[in-house]
């Protein structure tokens, strides 16, 4: 997977929760992901410096990491040739359906890995039972 910075615009509080959700989803799929929280920017002393935040995110992305970061305004920073920068709006990511379809778009573009399993463990149990009933398995 190549590196990627995803900038999410919108109100700070709700935005951090969405960033965490997306980060967990990508991590569960085995993707290399870093959520660049406002706390992280704060501890680096760059919370109000958009250009410095962008540079830090770009450095991570250059090493094949999907970086999720929040911004209040348009993020004009360049991340370099190898890094794809996407901007999206918080409202686009609210709700399960939108969240799922956003991840799916990234997945189809080869930017995040697909889910590790075709079916959940519970569904797998039901399928195995059906396969036994039909005589496909002993």
């Amino acid at each position: 997977m190549k590196g990627l910075v995803i900038w999410v615009r919108g109100a700070t509080g709700a935005r951090e929760a969405v960033l965490d959700e997306l980060g967990n989803e990508i991590m569960e799929r085995g993707g290399r992901v870093e959520v660049f929280h406002s706390e992280a920017a704060g501890s680096l002393g760059i919370e109000s410096d958009e250009r410095a935040k962008a540079a830090a995110c770009a450095m991570l992305a250059r090493h094949g990491v999907v970086v999720l970061a929040g911004s209040d305004g348009p993020c004009a920073a360049s991340g370099g040739e190898l890094i794809e920068i996407r901007e999206t709006d918080l409202t686009e990511l609210s709700g399960d359906l939108a969240h799922g379809s956003f991840i799916r778009r990234l997945e189809l573009a080869g930017l995040v890995p697909p889910p590790r399993h075709d079916v959940s463990p519970d569904e797998e149990k039901i399928i195995l039972e059906r396969l036994r009933d039909l005589g496909y398995l002993d």
Partner: protein, 385 residues
């Protein structure tokens, strides 16, 4: 680990059980769009993930990209349009609205969130996807029955097991994948068929089985053209053949509920990609795969595979020559492995075989197993059905 589905993951647009009952209630008062037999088959296969990454009938941009470039706009290879045609007498449902999807008897099979309603040039579609505009081609004739307006959008498909044919053989892609894993298979070869299996097909399947963990015998049971052997007859042949001549631990038979398009080379790619979604790593491509009459060259389908990057296909085509029994070799062979003349090769054309069966004559055992020939003979003579 099994091969990844096309586009990365299996889509799931199928509802069943209580969720399906609730959806059916919701859909009763919505405008209804009618599905023809092919579209009904397609709806089922989009729903169960066999057509991953599709989540619905194609919208205009994807339709044009598929017809012209054999790719979806999002990138994956996709060789044939999967579309819903607007029918005379159906209501006009604009983009942004939802509609129930019903068959010609009015049975509800799902719904669509309409995203696009667009006009298509069906002559162009025929020329590019079928390679001909000749009306004797069944695919061209099919297009001639359509209005030229397509309705695109995401669907949900309602699982109605009580109405399905061959329920004991109906496995969705996620089910075959669980089955293959449970059997410990990592590599699986798929064999697509819409014909009875003669010794020639048996031979190439068994050649393929030598290099993989298992075989998925995947007969197509969706709509076919008049004159093809009916699916129920074929299924009886397959059952008898598997019972008598294949190791049960290395074969899975399940039905493939797709309609035939007779699109030759493009349909061969289509068949392969769909089998990848079922968890197959290899796909047998014989002579004139999915062809009809003399519309396609013997090796056109095999050659089309070579025009794609193997990684973007993600399934390995196993290309086979025509096989036959050679009386000098004393076994099955192909022109790649047999040096003898045609006079030593037992090969019969389909029309001749059917004539023999109608007259009560069994074809040679080197051509067809006698148990299979008897089932076909009964069917040809209208017995045993």
């Amino acid at each position: 680990m099994l091969v990844a589905p096309h586009g990365g993951r299996l889509t799931d647009r199928q509802v069943e059980g209580e969720e399906a009952s609730r959806l059916l209630e919701e859909l009763r008062d919505l405008p209804r769009l009618t599905l023809n037999a092919r579209e009904r088959n397609d709806l089922e296969m989009i729903g169960n993930g066999a057509m991953s990454p599709l989540e619905g009938f194609l919208c205009g941009p994807d339709y044009r990209s598929v017809v012209d470039l054999m790719h979806l706009t999002s990138g994956p290879v996709w060789p044939l349009p999967v579309v819903l045609s607007a029918k005379d007498g159906d209501p006009s449902v604009p983009a942004g609205m939802r509609a129930a999807l019903v068959d010609e008897c009015g049975t509800i099979w799902g719904d669509i969130e309409v995203e696009d309603v667009f006009r298509a040039d069906l002559t162009d579609e025929a020329a590019k996807t079928l390679g001909t505009t000749d009306e004797t081609h069944p695919g061209v004739r099919y297009l001639g029955t359509l209005s030229g307006t397509y309705v695109g959008g995401r669907i949900r498909s309602i699982r109605r097991r009580e109405l399905e044919e061959f329920p004991q053989y109906r496995l969705d892609p996620k089910e075959t994948r669980v089955l293959f894993r449970a059997r410990g298979w990592k590599t699986v070869v798929a064999f697509q068929t819409r014909n009875p299996i003669h010794r020639a097909h048996e031979y190439i399947q068994k050649c393929a089985m030598e290099i993989v963990d298992g075989l998925l015998l995947h007969p197509l049971v969706g709509e076919t053209k008049e004159g093809d052997t009916p699916a129920d007859v074929r299924m009886r042949c397959y059952e008898v053949l598997l019972d008598g001549y294949y190791p049960s631990t290395r074969v899975v038979m399940s039905v493939f509920p797709a309609a035939m398009r007779y699109a030759g080379p493009r349909e061969a790619i289509f068949h392969a990609l769909l089998r990848k979604n079922y968890g197959c790593s290899h796909f047998i491509v014989g002579r004139d795969h999915a062809g009809v009459g003399s519309f396609y060259g013997t090796y056109d389908a095999q050659l089309l595979f070579d025009t794609f990057d193997p990684e973007e296909l993600g399934i390995v085509p196993l290309k086979f020559e025509n096989s036959f029994y050679c009386t000098r070799c004393g076994g099955m062979a192909t022109s790649k492995t047999c040096a003898h003349d045609a006079e030593h090769r037992v090969f019969l054309a389909g029309t001749k075989v059917r004539a023999m069966l109608r007259d009560g004559m069994l074809p040679p055992a080197e051509f067809t197993r006698p148990e299979i020939a008897r089932i076909l003979m009964d069917a040809e003579r209208g017995e045993g059905r």
